[in-house]
Symmetry: C2
Subunit: 400 residues, 2 copies
């Protein structure tokens, strides 16, 4: 195993990660009709917060990601595992009348249903979300889809890269066209995952409102909407100034230096977006005189003359490694970071100390939970993802 | 104004956006000590869900973003506006004993406190989050920071680009090194915004748990943790296979074609990540024979031979525009998207229909809310961001 030597030690130091604390969503039952990534991300968060999540999978193969890599040594999919820790599994075919009847029985006793079919598929299977909430007025039914439950594109199929494209994320990422740069996909399925997080947020909001009023609700989350909501700076320009923002590479639109710089080996990220930080960075780079330089002394000037500023900074940075410079600049009180590969990032002592990698009961390592509560369990589930239909007997016993 | 002609019409068609519905977080009072972007994103979501959010700002200048562009025609910052709609403002100096006493009075009557100072600053100002929850056992205190409230890097200053760097996001984004590509910043402040969304999710979870148990809690959200949690695919490889994933540009790591392709003018995103979709894409491109081509007939083969597949696809796409091809491919049932600039994205009929741009009472346009409830108000606030200290009198009257 690859756990850091001090992993358990660090963990013990942090009461936030005490796995014996009660869970905040204890007693909440979730029927999880989702597949692939956006929906399972939402229901994994529910499981990590202590809800009972019953993953209903279609026989005979189950969730699509069970037959999608990367596969680990026992031949199982690590994609499925990472997205489905803490859940139970039952195989049900919606088109089979007995299975459908049992599903309805489960729903009648549940608090939450989550699905990420294409809009209309639930209704076609006799599971129209609006109708379910009418039939069970305390029920919360969350639908996560590419484009949402209504609107001219609601019927379109969506995968992460397509939504990243429509949302403006891809056009905003990468070097400017004037420098030969091209629109660039964000190097992780951010549109899927962020939609899942918003699904979680919407469900918990609806659970709170139900406690106050007794009323359930549908929750409709679209990957396109949630990706658009990431585009804050772009929207500031587009809505406020009627400007179409240009792709500007690694720079911040309104601060400089706030960019990625080449060192002798690897790049380093430096954020000195105000004059106070600039007055610390310049001497750290051996150029105290830059603080009062008439071309660079204010953020507005540095922003205007950013090419010059970048050239001057890189002419110094090329004399050392990224690691050396990151340390030195950070010690001078200026935010600076190494552009780590995720394999290094997850071994950072900070990431380990925060429990962002955790060990399951069977020794597998998965991602930890990013919300730490003082009062509630924040370690999240320690139960590995289920085999297909693994919990059939127990679920039948509980709901029949 | 740039509202689409049918904007209000579309809005009226969608009961999700009915602005007269009750809010899910009605009656919740939030003391908002945050500045800049991550914290204000969290508290804007609380305001959009109907909480009363009182933004406490430091005199004489208030939130940093009030003096940061982009500025709109009346000289005010659109950065501040977009991040702070629906909030009230009071100017209080923590170091002034009277102001501090009044702040404590407000906190004693509030449900939630949110802050995004560097860890330790709250305690230095007599506002230690753990102590506050001890003193007011029903209180929820959410701290959003770059690296979290504990761990070896917890004292480090953080800005978005630095956290993107440490988290693996930057190393994963951009063309592969083997093709001359460089690590690339995601072209929006994704680490700030996603931390704000998790802050919201944590607060609402804690509000639900409080309804059940009467207990408040601290909530500790780190930009680094939440950015790491976006790296699902990378972690699958790193944790499951002990592999450091390479940067692979715009491709998906396990499916092909799932990429961005050049057309005669602009690029188009196409996601045909399984054999069924490939059997639709190939004939749409005029090459039915690719479906059975021994080099391309399965996803595994296409993944292995992706350069060849890309070359073949682009040799067809170069005969038309991205808009023509997107339409044609989409009509064939294969997910495809244009890489829109955010200024075009926010004018998409789908984005307009979903209310993702909305008009404030004073006519300003801001981003809509990405969570739509059947039962609850999902239009969000229509109150523009406040002038500094605008609500002093009313707040004094309510809490004194």
């Amino acid at each position: 195993m690859k756990i850091q030597p001090d992993y358990k030690g660090e963990e013990a130091k942090n009461p936030h990660l005490d796995p014996t604390k009660p869970y905040p969503l204890e007693g909440v039952t979730v029927i999880d009709l989702t597949r692939v990534l956006s929906g399972p991300t939402c229901t994994r968060m529910l499981a990590d917060a202590g809800a009972r999540v019953i993953h209903v999978e279609r026989p005979p193969k189950g969730d699509d990601t069970r037959s999608q890599g990367p596969y680990v040594h026992d031949g199982s999919s690590n994609y499925f595992r990472i997205a489905n820790v803490g859940k139970e599994s039952i195989a049900l075919d919606f088109r089979d009348p007995d299975d459908h009847a049992f599903l309805m029985k489960m729903i009648s006793k549940a608090d939450v249903v989550v699905e990420n079919f294409r809009p209309g598929v639930m209704a076609k299977n006799g599971l129209n979300p609006d109708e379910l909430v009418k039939q069970f007025p305390r029920l919360i039914v969350c639908s996560i889809s590419g484009f949402g439950q209504y609107g001219p594109m609601s019927g379109n199929a969506a995968y992460d890269t397509v939504v990243q494209a429509w949302s403006g994320l891809i056009a905003a990422t990468g070097a400017p066209a004037s420098e030969g740069g091209k629109a660039t996909r964000v190097g992780t399925s951010v549109s899927d995952i962020v939609a899942g997080v918003h699904g979680y947020a919407g469900i918990v909001t609806a659970l709170y409102a139900r406690e106050k009023t007794g009323k359930g609700s549908t929750v409709d989350v679209a990957m396109l909407d949630t990706s658009i909501s990431l585009m804050a700076q772009g929207l500031m320009a587009s809505l406020g100034l009627d400007e179409a923002p240009e792709r500007i590479g690694n720079r911040h639109p309104y601060m400089y230096p706030f960019d990625i710089f080449d060192c002798a080996d690897e790049p380093v990220a430096i954020c000195a977006g105000n004059d106070r930080l600039w007055s610390k960075l310049a001497p750290c780079l051996g150029h105290e005189e830059w603080v009062t330089d008439p071309e660079m002394c204010t953020n507005d000037l540095r922003e205007k003359n950013w090419r010059l500023v970048k050239e001057k900074i890189e002419s110094v940075l090329c004399t050392g490694t990224a690691e050396e410079w990151q340390k030195k600049i950070d010690e001078a009180g200026v935010p600076a970071g190494l552009c780590l590969n995720i394999d290094d990032a997850r071994r950072l002592p900070q990431v380990v100390a925060r429990g962002m990698v955790k060990e399951m009961d069977d020794g597998f390592l998965v991602m930890g939970t990013p919300i730490k509560y003082g009062t509630w369990n924040s370690y999240g589930t320690t139960k590995d993802a289920p085999a297909l239909n693994a919990d059939n007997d127990q679920i039948r016993a509980d709901f029949e």
